[in-house]
C-alpha cells in the first residue's frame, strides 16, 4: 500500500467533487426521518456504475458517515431520529434542545461522530486482517448472547421505570415475530395478509413511534402558539469541545464498542448506538441524570454509531462478508469494479484500498465544517410556526415510510404505531425499548433457533465455546449482580441491626 499514490487518487478534482456532492446528499438523507444511511448508499449504486473505483466507493463512505451524523439533527430538534442509529439517545438530545442547548448537543454529536469515525478507520487501517479473523469465530451461539446483552440494555434506556421498560420491550419483541418465521417460513400473525408476511418494517415503526406520535402530542398544543425556546448563544464548536474534553473517556469507550460491534457481521450502527448508551449509563457516576437531558450517554452513542461504519469494512474487505447492510452494498460495487474482497485485495489493489482509507479520514474531517453548516440551518427550523412545520413533517414521514418498501401498507403501520406510541408515552411507557425489541427480536430468535438446530437441542453448546461462554457470563452478571448486591446489603443491614 502506498499512501502517496492513494492521496493522489483521492485529491483529483472530479473525485473531490463526487465526494462533496455525496456528502451533501448524505446530510440530506440522514436528516430526513425514514431515509436511512443504507438507503442513501443503495440510491448511489446506479450512479457508481459510471465512476472509477475510488470515487465510487468514496461516495458511499462519505455519504454514510454524513447520514449517520445527520440522523441526530431531527432527533434533537423534533424528537424524531433521522436514522435508526440515532434512536437510542433521541429523548436525551431532544430534552437538551428544549432547554435551549441545541447547539451544545448537536456539536457534541458532530465532534463525537468525527472522533468515532476516525477511531474506527484507524483500527480498520492497522488491524483489519487480525480483527477479521476474530469476527469469523462468531457463530450463532455468540450472536445469541450478544443479542441478549443488547436486550438487557432496555431496562437501562427506559429512564425511570424498569417494569414499564420491559413491557415496552416485549411489545417490540411481539411485533418482531410478525411475518414469515425465520426458520420454516411459516406465516405468523399475518391473518392471511400477504403484506404482513414481510413483517413490521423497522423504518415504518420508527416513524410511527417517534415522528407520528410526536405529531399527535404537538397537535394538542398547537393552538397555544408557544414561543420558540430561547437558545444559548455562542460559538457552536466551543460548546461541544468543552463537553468532549470533560467526557473524553466516554468518547473513547463509545468508539471502541462501536468499532467492535461494526466488525461483527450482523450488528451495525443501530445496535452500536443502543449498547453504548446503555454501557454509558451503567458505568456513569451520575446514572440518575440519564433520561433528563444529560449529555454523557450522547457522547458515547454518537461516537459509537459512526465508529461502527469503519468497523463494518473489516470483514467486508478481508472476507467479503458484510459487517452491516451498507457494506453489503459496497461489496457489490467493489465486484463491479473488478476488486474481489479477500486478503489479496490489500496487495493486488493496495493503492485503491489505501485510497478508500484516505477517503474515510477525509470524510470524518469534512464532516465538521459541513455538519456545522447543517446545525446552523437546523436552528432556524425551531422558529418556524408549528402550524406550518407539522404538516411538512407529516409529508416527509409519509414519503420516508413509503420509500423503504414502496408499500402503501406500511403507511397503515405508521399510523397504527403512531397512535400506540402516543398512548404509551402519555402513560409513562418509553417507546425506545420497543424499538430495541424490534431491532433485536429477529436476531435473538434466529440465533437461538439456529443454535438449537446445530446442537441437536443440546443446551450445553450455548456455553462450551470460549467466546460464547464469556458472553454468557457477562449476560448473567448484568442480571444477577444487582440481586446479589441487594442480598449482601440486606444481610449487612440485618447483622448491623
Amino acid at each position: 500500500m502506498n499512501f502517496l499514490t492513494a492521496i493522489q487518487l483521492v485529491f483529483e478534482p472530479t473525485t473531490l467533487m463526487v465526494l462533496l456532492a455525496s456528502a451533501a446528499f448524505g446530510l440530506f438523507v440522514g436528516s430526513m426521518p425514514g431515509l436511512s444511511a443504507t438507503m442513501a448508499a443503495a440510491l448511489l449504486v446506479p450512479l457508481t456504475f459510471y465512476m472509477d473505483p475510488v470515487p465510487a466507493i468514496g461516495a458511499i463512505v462519505v455519504c454514510s458517515a454524513m447520514a449517520i451524523f445527520a440522523g441526530d439533527i431531527p432527533g434533537a430538534l423534533l424528537r424524531i431520529p433521522g436514522t435508526p442509529a440515532s434512536a437510542a439517545y433521541v429523548g436525551e438530545a431532544y430534552q437538551m434542545g428544549r432547554r435551549g442547548e441545541l447547539s451544545k448537543v448537536l456539536s457534541v454529536n458532530l465532534l463525537a461522530s468525527a472522533i468515532g469515525g476516525i477511531f474506527g478507520t484507524l483500527l480498520l487501517i492497522f488491524l483489519a486482517p487480525q480483527l477479521a479473523l476474530v469476527a469469523l469465530r462468531f457463530s450463532s451461539y455468540e450472536y445469541f448472547w450478544l443479542a441478549l446483552i443488547g436486550l438487557s440494555a432496555a431496562t437501562l434506556v427506559s429512564a425511570s421505570n424498569p417494569i414499564k421498560g420491559i413491557i415496552s420491550l416485549f411489545l417490540g419483541l411481539l411485533l418482531a415475530t410478525v411475518g414469515l418465521d425465520v426458520v420454516t417460513g411459516f406465516p405468523r400473525y399475518t391473518f392471511g395478509s400477504v403484506n404482513l408476511m414481510g413483517g413490521v418494517s423497522l423504518i415504518a415503526a420508527l416513524i410511527g413511534l417517534f415522528a407520528v406520535a410526536e405529531l399527535f402530542r404537538k397537535a394538542t398544543t398547537i393552538q397555544e402558539r408557544l414561543p420558540p425556546v430561547p437558545q444559548v448563544e455562542g460559538a457552536i464548536l466551543r460548546q461541544g469541545f468543552a463537553v468532549i474534553r470533560q467526557y473524553k473517556g466516554n468518547a473513547l469507550r463509545g468508539s471502541i464498542i462501536g468499532t467492535l460491534l461494526g466488525i461483527l457481521p450482523g450488528a451495525g450502527a443501530d445496535i452500536a448506538g443502543w449498547i453504548s448508551y446503555a454501557v454509558s449509563r451503567r458505568f456513569s457516576k451520575t446514572p440518575e441524570k440519564f433520561g433528563t437531558g444529560h449529555i454523557e450517554g450522547v457522547v458515547d452513542a454518537s461516537a459509537s454509531n459512526n465508529a461502527s461504519l469503519g468497523g463494518a469494512y473489516v470483514p467486508a474487505l478481508v472476507f467479503g462478508i458484510p459487517g452491516d447492510s451498507i457494506t453489503a452494498i459496497v461489496i457489490g460495487v467493489l465486484l463491479i469494479k473488478g476488486l474481489t474482497p479477500g486478503p489479496t485485495v490489500f496487495t493486488q489493489s493496495g493503492d485503491i484500498v489505501a485510497a478508500i482509507f484516505v477517503v474515510f479520514i477525509l470524510a470524518n474531517l469534512i464532516l465538521i465544517p459541513l455538519g456545522l453548516l447543517a446545525i446552523r440551518a437546523a436552528r432556524n427550523v425551531l422558529s418556524i410556526d408549528a402550524r406550518v412545520l407539522l404538516p411538512i413533517i407529516v409529508m416527509f414521514s409519509i414519503v420516508g415510510a413509503f420509500a423503504v418498501n414502496n408499500a402503501v401498507f406500511d403507511l397503515w403501520i405508521v399510523l397504527a404505531l403512531g397512535l400506540i406510541g402516543w398512548l404509551m408515552e402519555e402513560n409513562g411507557f418509553s417507546v425506545a425499548p420497543m424499538v430495541l425489541g424490534l431491532v433485536l427480536g429477529k436476531i435473538v430468535e434466529e440465533s437461538f433457533v439456529n443454535s438449537m438446530i446445530k446442537a441437536n437441542g443440546n443446551l450445553v453448546a450455548f456455553v462450551d465455546r470460549p467466546i460464547a461462554g464469556t458472553l454468557a457470563a457477562v449476560f448473567l452478571t448484568i442480571w444477577l449482580s444487582p440481586l446479589i448486591l441487594r442480598a449482601i446489603r440486606s444481610r449487612a443491614k440485618a447483622t448491623a441491626g
Partner: protein, 324 residues
C-alpha cells in the same frame, strides 16, 4: 359517399384508433419489480438490465424493490399487477417454490414469461479444514453417517441452492433430509457459520464463495454445472468428480402478469434480448460473476414448467411440500 368508401373510411378510422395502442407500446415508463433488497445480487442484475432495456425501448424503466417475506411479497405484486405491460418483474428461483411450500396460491402459470436472463450453478463448498477432499468422499461420508450429523447453511430451507443439492443427494440414493439446514439470510452469513465451525457445507454459487476461497477459509469440491467455470479452473464439475452429469442452481428471469397483450410481450422480448446481448450487460454480469444464460419466452415457459415439477418432487422428499 358510397357504401365502399364509407366502409374504408370506417376501417381507416378503426385502424387509426386501434393501431397506435399497439405500435406505440411502450408510451410511458415501465416499472420493474424486484422482490429482494436494494444492493443485493438480484437488485444489481435488475438495475443493469433496466438500463439497457431503457436504451432499447426509449422509455424509462424504474426498478422498484418490494421486499419481505422471503420474496413472496414482490412476486405476489408481479402477478397481481395490471396486465398492461407497464409492470414487469425480475422473478427468481423461489417463484417455483411458493406454491409447494404453501406460502402462496400462485404458480408459474400465473405469469407470462418474457426471458430467462441468468442461471447460477450451485457449488459444493466446505471449510478449508474439512477432511473431505473430493465430492465422492463427501457423499460417502454423508451416506454413512446417521441423519443430522452434517449440517449446511447459506439459505432458507427450500431455497434454490438447497433444492439443487438435495436433488444431487437424492440421485445418489441419499435421503436429502439427512443434512440439517441451519437457515441463514443469504450466502455470506452461511460462510460465517462455515468458518466458525457451525456447519459443514454451504451450497452457493462460486462467485459468492470467491473471497472466502481466496482467503483460504473455504474450498469448493465441485460445481453443479456442465463445464468448469473460466474463473475457477480448479473446481471440477460433478461429472468429473463422480462420473454423473448434474446441473442445478438458481435462476433469474423477467416475467409479466398473466394476460399481458402478446404484442407487448413481443416488444419486451426483443428489447430484453438486445439488452442481454449488449456489451455493457455482458461485461457487468461477467465482472460480478453471474452466469450468463438466455432463453426466450417459449423456452423460459418450458423451463418454468420443469422447475415447478422438479421442485414439487424434491420438496416432497424434504418434507417441505404442503400440498399435492
Amino acid at each position: 359517399m358510397n357504401k365502399t368508401q364509407a366502409i374504408s373510411l370506417a376501417a381507416i378510422l378503426l385502424a387509426g384508433t386501434a393501431m397506435p395502442a399497439v405500435a406505440q407500446y411502450p408510451e410511458r415508463p415501465i416499472t420493474l419489480l424486484v422482490s429482494w433488497a436494494a444492493g443485493g445480487g438480484t437488485d444489481a442484475v435488475a438495475r443493469a438490465l433496466a438500463t439497457q432495456i431503457e436504451k432499447q425501448l426509449g422509455t424509462p424503466v424504474n426498478v422498484v424493490n418490494r421486499t419481505g417475506g422471503a420474496g413472496v411479497i414482490g412476486h405476489t405484486e408481479m402477478i397481481n399487477a395490471q396486465p398492461d405491460g407497464y409492470t414487469i418483474g425480475l422473478a427468481t428461483a423461489e417463484l417455483a417454490t411458493y406454491y409447494w411450500s404453501g406460502t402462496a396460491e400462485f404458480t408459474y402459470e400465473d405469469v407470462t414469461p418474457i426471458a430467462l436472463v441468468n442461471l447460477d450453478a450451485s457449488a459444493f463448498n466446505v471449510s478449508s479444514g474439512s477432511e473431505w477432499t473430493d465430492l465422492r468422499m463427501a457423499l460417502d461420508a454423508i451416506k454413512a453417517a446417521p441423519a443430522g450429523t452434517y449440517k449446511l447453511s447459506g439459505m432458507a430451507p427450500g431455497a434454490g441452492y438447497h433444492l439443487a443439492l438435495s436433488g444431487l443427494l437424492h440421485s445418489e440414493g441419499i435421503d436429502p433430509t439427512f443434512i440439517t439446514v441451519v437457515p441463514s439470510q443469504g450466502a455470506a452469513p452461511g460462510f460465517q457459520e462455515l468458518a466458525s465451525g457451525g456447519v459443514d457445507l454451504v451450497p452457493s454459487s462460486l462467485p459468492e464463495a470467491q473471497s472466502m476461497i481466496a482467503a483460504g477459509q473455504v474450498k469448493s469440491l465441485a460445481v453443479l454445472a456442465g463445464t468448469r467455470m473460466a474463473a475457477f479452473p480448479d473446481v471440477p464439475t460433478v461429472e468429473e468428480a463422480i462420473g454423473k452429469p448434474w446441473v442445478a442452481g438458481t435462476w433469474r428471469g423477467l416475467v409479466a402478469p398473466a394476460g399481458v397483450p402478446a404484442e407487448a410481450i413481443a416488444v419486451l422480448e426483443t428489447a430484453v434480448e438486445a439488452a442481454w446481448n449488449s456489451d455493457e450487460f455482458q461485461t457487468f454480469m461477467t465482472d460480478r460473476g453471474f452466469g450468463l444464460t438466455y432463453s426466450n419466452s417459449a423456452d423460459f415457459a418450458t423451463f418454468l414448467a420443469n422447475e415447478h415439477k422438479g421442485n414439487g418432487e424434491i420438496m416432497g422428499l424434504l418434507g417441505l411440500r404442503q400440498r399435492d
